[in-house]
């Protein structure tokens, strides 16, 4: 992080600081002149948007924590007090609860972008894996945050998810007791979830730092998936992409504000406005929408895996569901090592493009299944989609590695961009 050949700054105060801690030089290098492919489309906005949402969550979260009380007796009421009595409390809470949803929207689009344009491929494998780690931490953070208002969905969501760990052979029950700090989800559980909900976003900040650092080592991918070859292929980050990112952020925030002000509970569940009751389970427990595809995979395993005719169960249904749910994220994690096809961008991979679009549709169908009661045809449908989810990673991608033709790629970003313009002009 030294500045290398530092250029003298005009402002004497800035120069005094910079010669001792080259922070302005660093910013100039990484966000000013940083050479960035000149052919970005709007999919490249979502990293910056995710960063804005993370900051928003931390800021609104810290001020909410000033009025929130993590005690089962008063947690629900303290949130209602935030909504009714605390100055602007309703706004802060709706920003925070809808902010979580929009954070996930941004990150899901960001992940899709990576998959479509092959951004996970060599040399960006570690950058991608750090991204998956951020996604995991986000899921843990959002899950624990949703428990805090201590409504019915909070309580029963926490019960169902913590019980997942009881599926682990031998030590499962001890782990669940350890998570709970008691014999059921109760006050100790709420307390530690609050402590960890406060901590995890800062861990996310740490991993985001590594993620961006890795990005600035390899440089950005781009819609063509070919590396920039020289100055003619890139633009300085500022003002070109600071401007484009700002525009994207503003559009995104307008839509976000629409939800916050006009449909703040659209993405929530009404049962969470009923205080937690350990004696009554709501008839239909659903997690927040952003977990639904994974929840569908969890519930898709309704059968034990046994050795035929012996009655020896190798993998009980409960463990099977849990393994697949975590496995579905593990697949994302190892994606760079599964996909060995030399071409990055789906623009030049028509077969992969079809498989990926089906994968996205499949993820949406899984989400719908996860939101429905596990009965009737929703069960076989979820099972079918689970099969496609995994087949995409372990069958289709390895198959395409060998079979999908490698087409000639454009010579350079510059040439491709200019050709497009002359074609459009003629």
């Amino acid at each position: 992080m030294s500045s290398g050949n530092r250029e003298k700054l005009d402002n004497p105060v800035m120069e005094w600081v910079d010669s001792r801690l080259p922070i302005f030089s660093l910013l100039q290098k990484e966000y000013g002149i940083f050479p960035t492919p000149k052919n970005f489309n709007y999919f490249w906005n979502f990293g910056a948007i995710a960063m804005v949402m993370l900051s928003l969550m931390i800021i609104t979260g810290i001020v909410l924590a000033m009025s929130y009380a993590a005690n089962t007796e008063i947690a629900f009421d303290s949130v209602e007090r935030i909504m009714r009595d605390v100055n602007h409390g309703w706004l802060l809470r709706y920003l925070h609860s809808n902010g979580a949803s929009f954070f996930f929207i941004a990150v899901y689009i960001h992940i899709f972008r990576g998959m479509y344009y092959g951004s996970y491929k060599q040399p960006r494998e570690l950058l991608w894996m750090l991204g998956v780690l951020i996604f995991l931490l986000m899921m843990a953070t959002a899950f624990m945050g949703y428990v805090l208002p201590w409504g019915q969905m909070s309580f029963w969501g926490a019960t169902v998810i913590t019980n997942l760990f009881s599926a682990i052979p031998l030590v499962g029950d001890s782990i669940v007791t350890l998570l709970w700090g008691g014999f059921s989800v109760d006050n100790p559980t709420l307390n530690r979830f609050f402590a960890l909900h406060y901590l995890f976003p800062f861990l996310i900040v740490g991993v985001v730092f590594l993620h961006v650092w890795a990005l600035h080592v390899t440089g950005s991918n781009n819609p063509l998936g070919i590396e920039p070859k020289g100055k003619q292929d890139t633009l300085p980050f500022h003002p070109y992409y600071t401007m484009k990112d700002s525009f994207g952020i503003v559009v995104f925030l307008i839509i976000f504000a629409g939800f916050v002000f006009f449909a703040p509970n659209y993405m929530g569940h009404p049962d969470n406005y009923i205080p937690a009751n350990p004696l009554v389970t709501p008839t239909h427990i659903v997690p927040e929408w952003y977990f639904l595809p994974f929840y569908a995979i969890l519930r898709a395993i309704t059968f034990d895996i046994a050795i035929p005719f012996t009655g020896l169960v190798l993998c009980p249904a409960k463990l099977g569901g849990v393994l697949l749910m975590f496995g579905s994220i593990a697949m994302l994690f190892i994606l760079p090592f599964l996909d060995k096809h030399p071409v990055r961008s789906a623009r030049f991979r028509p077969w992969y493009k079809i498989a990926l679009i089906l994968f996205v549709i499949n993820a949406f169908v899984l989400g719908v299944c996860g939101g429905k009661p596990a009965e009737g045809f929703w069960v076989p449908l979820a099972q079918l989609c689970t099969v496609y989810y995994f087949a995409f990673f372990v069958v289709i991608i390895p198959f395409l590695n060998k079979k999908e033709p490698v087409v000639p790629l454009p010579n350079s970003i510059n040439e491709a961009v200019l050709n497009k313009n002359t074609k459009a002009a003629s």
């Binding site: 029963w156 019960t159 169902v160 913590t162 019980n163 997942l164 007791t177 350890l178 998570l179 709970w180 700090g181 008691g182 014999f183 059921s184 989800v185 109760d186 100790p188 530690r192 350990p278 004696l279 009554v280 389970t281 008839t283 239909h284 427990i285 519930r299 395993i301 309704t302 009980p316 249904a317 409960k318 569901g321 009661p373 596990a374 009965e375």
Partner: protein
Amino acid sequence: MSADQTKKPSSTEGNHGEGETRRDFLYLTAAAFGAVGAGSFAWPLIDQMNPAADTLALSSTEVDLSPIEEGQAITVMWRGKPVFIRHRTAKEIEEAKAVDLGELRDPQTDEERVQEGHEKWLVMVGICTHLGCVPLGQKNADVKGEYDGWFCPCHGSHYDSSGRIRKGPAPTNMAIPDYTFINDTMIKIG
């Protein structure tokens, strides 16, 4: 001469080798002590999450059974969990006893799940062994599932009139807590 020859190389080799093993030994012991130290500091940090003494000491619960009529059930709280107490009808007991153990996922006779002489009382932790929801079936108007017992709406587990798992994703029967009859109409759970 011969003695010298045999001695010399062995002593230099020995010296050389000894220098390395000594250093290795120091590294190893330092690392081992470090690991033990880190572990013994980490353990309190982890173990503090386990149930605290007062949580463990949560008193046992005494329940008066006399107001529960035949065919009815009540739910009491014990260690933060619902406990189902059901006054079973003759038909329900009959059904529970008639089951062929070979059909069961978690084979247990009805006798193993109640106390001798008190077969009409089924006392169990009212928590689905799948992922911890509270099954329906305590109220007369509730759905009781396909085996005249309890039904868990979360992911569709069916329990019979002895609280044994019969259908759905749950792996085991609903748990029987430790309890004793203080007299014919009083029990102490825990």
